[in-house]
Amino acid sequence: MYTVLVCDDDRDIVSALKIYLTAEGYNVLCAYNGQEAIDTVKTNEVHLILMDIMMPGVDGIRALMKIRETQNMPVIFTTAKSEDNDIILGLNLGADDYVTKPFNPVELMARVRSQLRRYTMLGSKQQTNVIAVGAIEIDDSAKAVAVDGESVSLTPTEYEILKLLALSPGKVFSPAEIYRTVWNDEPYASDSTVAVHIRHLREKIEIDPAKPRYIKVVWGQGYKIEK
C-alpha cells in the first residue's frame, strides 16, 4: 500500500486524481499549495508526489527543492506549462517525470505505477548479463526485457534494436546503421522499415509513445536511447 501525495491548487483536479489513485489502490493525501505539501511530507510517509508548479504561496518548484533536501521519493510534475524550457527546468531540479495539463488520467496512472515500481525496486541487485538503461532492463541471456520491473514481450527484431540502442545509450543510430546491424543487409534509401519497428517498440515500452521517455527520435538523424 503506497501513499501518494496530490498537490494542486485546483481542488477539482485533486479530487479527480484522488478518485483515480484510490481506484488504483493507493493511499491518497491531498495538499492545495506548496507549503501544505512540504508539511504533509514531513509528517507522513509518502511514496510519490504529484505536484502542480503554478500554485499560490510556495510554488511547485520551490516545494520540490525543499522536499528534495530530505526525501528522494519520485515526484511527477503535473502542470499547464508545456514549454520545453519549463520541462527541462523541472526535470533538472529533481523531478522524475513531467506531465503537461490537460493530461490523460489513464496515462498519468501508468506513469505513477512506473515511478513507484522504480522507486521500490531501487537498490535491488544488478544481475550479470543485464543491460539497464533507466527503468529498462534487458536480460540478454534470457532475451527478456522489463520496463519498471514489468516484463515486456518483444519480437526478435525489436529486441535486437533495443539492445543495439541500449548498449550505447545517448548515441544516435541512423536507420541505415540499425538496418545493417540488425538485418545484416544493405538498406535502400528512405526505407521506413526501421522506423516502423521503432514505433512498435516505442508503443510497447513507452507510456506515451508520442512523448517517449527512453527511445527518442532524432528527426532527420536517427534514433537513440536516453541515458
Binding site: D10, I13, L17, F103, P105, V194, A195, W219, G220
Partner: protein, 813 residues
C-alpha cells in the same frame, strides 16, 4: 458589306483596277510634263498638236514616203529605164491603189516613171536627187556603183525637195504643193517669202510675199547654191544631197522633226550639237544641215568612195532627178499612209485632251484605291484584319526599291526609256519612270494599310525589331554591371573625353605654352575630385543597398564630406527608425505570444478537470443512452479544446519567430523514412496508398529536425485526416537547382470550398464547417515554421486534389 470586304475577288479586282488607273494617270501626267518641256519633239508638242493633226502629218508622212521610195531604188530604176519593172513589182502602185501619185523626171523634164497623174486636189512634194557626172564613163560607173550600194545602205543618197530655181522641170509638180500649203497652213513661215521671189510662176506664193514683203531674212536661192558648194568643200563630198526647200515654212518643221527622229536614233539626245557655218546650222554627226530659213540639207556619202578626190576634180558637174509625191488628202485608198495618218490623228486627239483624261483616270484610281483600302486585311473566318502571306515580308524589303532608286539617282534604264519613246528630253529619270514608281508606291500604301489594320506594323519591321533587341541587350549589359563599375566607367569616360577635347583646344590655340600648365593642374584637381566623388557616391550606394536589404548596419561616414556626410546621416537615421520599428514590432509580437501563452495556461487547468471528470463519467455505470451520447460530445469537444490550447501557443510562437531553433545537417530522406514509419498504420487504417518518388542522391538540408518534423507531421496528419479512404497519396521529392522540393498530393474526402491562399491562415480548415477534428492551425504552424527555417510552403487546390509543396534550400556541397 462585310461579306464583300472578305471576298478575295473583290479585293484583287479593286487593287488591280486602282493600280492600272494610277499607272495610266501617271503616264498621262508624264506626257504632260514632257509636252511642257522645251525640248519636247515638235510633232507632239502641245502648241503644234492641233496643226499636226490636220496638216503636218501629211508633210511628215510624205517625206517618209519619199524616203521609202528612194530606198526601194526608184531613181536607179528610172535612170536605167526600168520604170515598168519597178511598177510591175509593186502592184498597188501600178494600179493606183495608193493615196499618192509618184513620178520621176530628169533634168530636162522628161518623165522617166509615173504610176498615175495626180489630181488638182493632191498635195505634191518634190524631192531632188543630184548626182555628179565627170565624164560619160565615170558617170556610168558611178551611177552603177550607186545603184548597187542603195540596196545595202540607202542613207547614202540624198533627196531634195522641189526647187524650181535649179530644177525647172519640177515646177509644174510643185504648184499644187505650194497652193495647198498656203491655203491649208495659216502659219506660213515668213522666211519662205524671200525664197518665193525666185519662183514667180507660183501666184499663191506671191500672195504670201505680199502679206509680208519686208519681213524675214532675205535668203536667196543663190545662197542655197552657194551653200551646197560650201558644204561640198566643208565635208569633202563628191555627192549627193537631199535638201528640203522652205517653200511654205511650217511644213519643213515637221519634216525636219521627222528627219531628226530618223537620223538621231543612234545618238544620245544631248549630243545633237551643231555649229554655225555662215547662216547654216551644221549638224556634223547628223549628216544634215539646217539653214536659217528652216531648210534641211541631208548630206550623204558614198560608201567605199573617196569623196575628196571627186571634189578636186574640176570637171565635175551635177545632174539631177526629180521625185514628186502627190498625196490625196482625202486618203481614199486603204494603204499604210492612211493607217498611220489615222493613228496619228487619234494619238493627237488624246494629247489635246490629255488633262481631262488624266483627271478622269485619277478619279477612277482614287475610287478603286479607297475601296481597296477598305477591303484590305479582311479575310474569311477572322474577326479582325490579319496580315499574312506577302504582307508579312519585312517592311524594309517593301521600301527597299525606293531607297535604292534614290541612292542611285533613279537613272537606271532611263536611256532606253528615252529611246523607246523617241523622246529627246531633259526630264530626269524619275519623271520618265514615274508610272512605275507610282504603282510601287501604291503597293506600299496598300501593304502598310494591311499591317496597320492587323496591328502587325511593328512585328514586320525588322530593323525596328533589331534595334529594340540591340537596345535591350545593351541595357541588360549595363544593368548587369555592378554600381562601382558603372560609376568608374562613366566618370573615366567623362574625364578622358573632356581631357582630350581640352587638350585639342589648347594645342590648336596660339597660347598653348601659357595654357598647358594650368590645364594639367586642372586635370589633376579634377581627378582628385572625381575619385572623391566616386568614393562618396559608392559608399552611399552600398550603405543604402545594405539598409534596403534589411541589414542592421550604418553607413560608414569616415570618408564622406559635406553634403554626402549629411546624406549618410539621413540614411542612418532612416535605418535607426526602421530598426526601432522592427524592435517595436518584435516586442509587440512577443507580448502577444506571452499573452496567448498565459491564456492557454489558464485554460489548461479547468480543461484538465473537464477531461478527468468526463473520463470518470464514462466509467459510471448508470446513465441513459442519451447521457452517453452527450458525454461523447463533451469528450470530443474537450479533446479539440486540448489540442487547440497547445496549437495556439505554437502558432503564435511560430508566427512571431520566437521558437528556438537548433539547426544541423540532416538528410531529408532519413526524415521522410521516419515519417513514413510513423504514419504507416494511420495511412493503412484509411486504406491510403503512399506513392513515393524520391531521388537516390542524399538531400542534405540545414534545419532543425524537430521543427521540420513538426511541419511534415502537420502536413502528413492532414493527409491522414482528410484524404478520401482508399485513394493514393503522392509524395514527390526532387532536389534540383539547390532546392529540395517535397510535394504532398492527396484527394480530399470532402469538397474543398476554400481559397487555397487562405488555407494557411489560422483557424482555416478545408471544409470550413469546423466539425472535424483538428484545430485548424496545422497548416499555419507548418507555414510559419517553414518560413522561420528559410523554406517555403505553398498550398494549392485543384478540385478535390490537395497539393502542398514544401521547398527547402539544400545545403551546398
Amino acid at each position: 458589306m462585310k461579306k464583300m470586304k472578305r471576298s478575295k475577288a473583290v479585293k484583287i479586282i479593286c487593287f488591280i483596277l486602282a493600280s492600272l488607273f494610277l499607272f495610266l494617270t501617271c503616264c498621262g501626267a508624264m506626257l504632260s510634263a514632257v509636252f511642257a518641256s522645251d525640248r519636247a519633239p515638235r510633232f507632239i508638242s502641245k502648241e503644234t498638236a492641233s496643226d499636226f493633226i490636220f496638216e503636218d502629218v501629211y508633210n511628215a508622212l510624205c517625206a517618209r514616203q519619199a524616203q521609202r521610195l528612194y530606198r526601194n531604188g526608184i531613181f536607179a530604176y528610172a535612170l536605167n529605164g526600168e520604170a515598168d519593172t519597178y511598177l510591175a513589182e509593186r502592184p498597188a502602185l501600178q494600179q493606183g491603189n495608193t493615196n499618192y501619185a509618184v513620178s520621176v523626171t530628169d533634168s530636162n523634164g522628161k518623165v522617166l516613171l509615173q504610176n498615175f497623174a495626180p489630181q488638182d486636189t493632191f498635195t505634191a512634194y518634190t524631192f531632188i536627187y543630184e548626182y555628179p557626172v565627170e565624164t560619160e564613163e565615170n558617170a556610168e560607173t558611178h551611177s552603177t556603183e550607186w545603184i548597187e550600194e542603195t540596196t545595202a545602205s540607202p542613207e547614202e543618197t540624198v533627196l531634195e525637195e522641189a526647187d524650181t530655181t535649179t530644177l525647172p522641170g519640177g515646177a509644174q509638180a510643185t504648184e499644187p504643193t505650194a497652193a495647198e500649203n498656203t491655203a491649208g497652213n495659216e502659219i506660213a513661215d515668213t522666211t519662205a517669202a524671200p525664197a518665193e521671189e525666185t519662183q514667180p510662176e507660183e501666184p499663191s506664193l506671191t500672195d504670201a510675199a505680199d502679206e509680208a514683203p519686208t519681213a524675214g531674212n532675205p535668203v536667196k536661192a543663190d545662197d542655197e547654191e552657194v551653200y551646197i558648194e560650201d558644204l561640198r568643200e566643208e565635208f569633202g563630198l563628191s555627192s549627193i544631197f537631199m535638201y528640203i526647200y522652205p517653200a511654205a515654212g511650217g511644213i519643213n518643221e515637221a519634216i525636219r522633226d521627222y528627219c531628226l527622229t530618223i537620223y538621231t536614233n543612234d545618238f544620245e539626245p544631248g549630243e545633237a550639237e551643231y555649229y554655225l557655218h555662215g547662216q547654216y546650222e551644221i549638224y556634223r554627226q547628223r549628216d544634215f544641215a539646217v539653214s536659217a530659213n528652216g531648210s534641211v540639207y541631208f548630206i550623204g556619202t558614198l560608201r567605199g568612195d573617196e569623196p575628196t578626190e571627186s571634189t578636186t576634180n574640176p570637171n565635175t558637174r551635177y545632174e539631177s532627178l526629180t521625185l514628186t509625191v502627190a498625196v490625196d488628202k482625202a486618203l481614199p485608198a486603204n494603204d499604210s499612209l492612211a493607217g498611220i495618218a489615222k493613228l496619228k490623228n487619234t494619238v493627237s486627239f488624246c494629247l489635246i485632251h490629255l488633262k481631262g483624261i488624266c483627271l478622269a483616270l485619277l478619279a477612277l484610281s482614287l475610287v478603286f484605291g479607297i475601296l481597296s483600302l477598305m477591303c484590305c486585311g479582311w479575310v474569311k473566318n477572322s474577326e479582325r484584319p490579319v496580315a499574312r502571306g506577302i504582307h508579312r515580308i519585312p517592311l524594309e524589303l517593301v521600301i527597299a526599291p525606293f531607297i535604292a532608286a534614290f541612292a542611285t539617282g533613279a537613272v537606271c534604264g532611263v536611256g532606253w526609256v528615252r529611246t523607246a519613246v523617241f523622246l529627246e528630253s531633259d526630264m530626269d529619270g524619275f519623271v520618265l519612270t514615274m508610272p512605275v514608281w507610282a504603282v510601287l508606291c501604291w503597293w506600299c500604301i496598300y501593304t502598310f494599310a494591311v499591317r496597320v489594320k492587323a496591328k502587325a506594323l511593328g512585328s514586320t519591321f525588322w530593323l525596328g525589331r533589331f534595334c529594340k533587341w540591340l537596345f535591350a541587350l545593351l541595357a541588360n549589359g549595363v544593368r548587369a554591371l555592378r554600381f562601382e563599375w558603372k560609376l568608374a566607367i562613366g566618370m573615366l569616360a567623362i574625364y578622358i573625353g573632356g581631357g582630350i577635347l581640352g587638350l585639342l583646344c589648347i594645342l590648336s590655340s596660339d597660347y598653348r605654352e601659357v595654357l598647358i600648365l594650368p590645364w594639367i593642374l586642372w586635370k589633376i584637381a579634377e581627378l582628385v575630385a572625381m575619385v572623391l566623388l566616386a568614393v562618396n557616391l559608392n559608399t552611399l550606394h552600398e550603405g543604402a543597398k545594405a539598409l534596403s536589404e534589411g541589414k542592421d548596419t550604418t553607413v560608414e561616414n569616415r570618408f564622406l564630406f559635406g553634403e554626402f556626410r549629411k546624406h549618410a546621416g539621413y540614411l542612418n537615421s532612416v535605418g535607426d527608425g526602421i530598426n526601432a520599428a522592427v524592435e517595436e514590432r518584435v516586442k509587440s509580437e512577443s507580448t502577444k505570444t506571452e499573452l496567448i501563452t498565459n491564456i492557454s495556461h489558464d485554460l489548461k487547468t479547468p480543461l484538465t478537470s473537464i477531461v478527468n471528470y468526463i473520463d470518470l463519467l464514462k466509467k459510471e455505470p448508470a446513465g441513459s443512452e442519451k447521457a452517453k451520447e452527450y458525454i461523447a460530445a463533451i469528450d470530443r469537444a474537450s479533446q479539440r479544446l486540448k489540442k487547440l490550447t497547445g496549437d495556439i501557443v505554437d502558432a503564435s510562437k511560430a508566427a512571431a519567430g520566437s521558437i528556438q531553433m537548433t539547426p544541423e545537417d540532416m538528410d531529408l530522406k532519413v526524415l521522410l523514412g521516419q515519417m513514413k514509419g510513423e504514419y504507416e498504420e494511420r495511412l493503412a487504417a484509411k486504406r491510403l496508398t503512399l506513392v513515393e518518388s524520391i531521388p537516390d542522391a542524399p538531400l542534405t538540408v540545414w534545419a532543425d529536425g524537430r521543427l521540420l518534423w513538426r511541419v511534415l507531421d502537420n502536413l502528413m496528419s492532414n493527409v491522414a485526416k482528410y484524404s478520401m479512404p482508399g485513394t493514393r497519396v503522392y509524395l514527390t521529392v526532387t532536389g534540383d537547382g539547390g532546392k529540395a522540393k517535397i510535394e504532398f498530393k492527396n484527394i480530399s474526402e470532402t469538397p474543398l470550398n476554400v481559397d487555397p491562399a487562405t488555407l494557411t491562415d489560422r483557424f482555416v480548415r478545408g471544409d470550413a464547417s469546423r466539425n472535424s477534428e483538428g484545430s485548424g492551425l496545422g497548416l499555419n504552424i507548418a507555414q510559419s515554421l517553414t518560413r522561420n527555417m528559410g523554406g517555403s510552403l505553398a498550398v494549392d487546390i485543384d478540385g478535390d486534389l490537395f497539393k502542398a509543396t514544401l521547398i527547402f534550400p539544400l545545403k551546398k556541397v
